[in-house]
């Protein structure tokens, strides 16, 4: 359940809901969120921010994965030879933006 926590920020009361509405933009701003006044008094939102930062940080663990098996390139070569064209020669395809 949503914690009914509110505090004062810039002279106005900021609720958890208001803070969380701002969160996507706050993350994308690149600023250090630890200075956010709401976080200094709201442990629920502080924990949320810590977790979301942690998840974004841990996402780096997911690179790199493995290479595809050599069969993939063999199949590509085979299909290309079957096509009998040079790269880019099928110009009637829809261009990528």
């Amino acid at each position: 359940m949503m914690e009914k926590h509110a505090n004062l920020q810039n002279g106005k009361t900021m609720t958890c809901a208001e803070f969380q509405d701002k969160l996507p933009e706050l993350f994308e701003s690149g600023n250090d969120l630890s200075g956010e006044k709401h976080l200094q008094t709201c442990e629920t939102c502080a924990a949320l921010v810590r977790d979301l930062e942690y998840i974004a940080q841990q996402a780096k663990l997911l690179l790199p994965l493995h290479d595809p098996s050599p069969a993939v390139w063999e199949n590509i070569q085979s299909a290309i030879q079957h096509d009998g064209n040079e790269p880019g020669s099928k110009t009637n395809d829809t261009p990528i933006k």
Binding site: N31, A47, I55, Q57, A59, S69, D93
Partner: protein, 210 residues
């Protein structure tokens, strides 16, 4: 909130991961001119990234390899249309994303309509299930656990999370790839992280209950 001051780079802003690759521009030009060896070089340079995207989105090696093959065959046919308006890796990724999405739609899976999954939903917003204080992540999430949680994200969320947080694309690039707004990409990323948090916390709770 901006104070005009510079701040240290926070942890959630990571380094860009698609820097220029030495020799790539020449290989592209030669491949466009019909040189098969250069096309092979482009395959070698980008196969891992394309395959990783396919594997994460499909969760199945055989399907991921099929789609990797399809993506590079499309690249072979369309490389002549690459004009360098964006980085080649971004262009190729956009092509690969389209291949993956087409495949998912053909399979008829729910939640793979990009228009639908990228549409902001009030029902799935950040205030849902914020949780109690004792349910925050322990700070010991390993790669396998995170992989599993990512697999359980809805495809639309998963795609934006992979493109941004794993592969390091910017929101403007993702918006371009997925034909959505930058705001939509940001919103989807936030929801993806929120959903991951929920999934990871649920996993921790299950583990501690055993």
């Amino acid at each position: 909130m901006s104070t005009g001051q510079t701040h240290p780079k926070p942890v959630h802003q990571h380094m860009r991961r698609n820097p220029p690759i030495a020799g790539e521009a020449e290989a592209i030009a030669r491949a466009q001119a019909g040189d098969p060896r250069s096309f092979e070089m482009l395959y070698s340079l980008h196969k891992r990234r394309v395959y990783s995207l396919c594997l994460r989105m499909l969760g199945n090696v055989a399907e991921a390899e099929d789609l990797t093959q399809e993506a590079f065959l499309q690249l072979y046919r369309k490389i002549g249309t690459f004009r360098g308006d964006s980085a080649f890796s971004t262009w190729l990724h956009r092509l690969s994303v389209n291949v993956v999405l087409m495949h998912l739609r053909k399979k008829g899976l729910p939640q793979v309509s990009l228009e639908e999954t990228l549409e902001p939903s009030q029902d799935d917003g950040p205030r849902k299930d914020i949780g109690a204080r004792d349910l925050t992540l322990s700070g010991s999430i390993d790669r396998v656990t995170l992989e599993r949680a990512v697999e359980n994200l809805p495809p639309g969320y998963r795609l934006v999370f992979i493109l941004h947080d794993v592969e390091g694309y910017e929101h403007n690039e993702i918006a371009d790839m997925l034909a959505c707004s930058i705001g939509n990409s940001k919103s989807q990323l936030h929801k993806a992280r929120m959903k991951l948090r929920e999934l990871l916390r649920t996993g921790e709770r299950k583990e501690s209950a055993v």
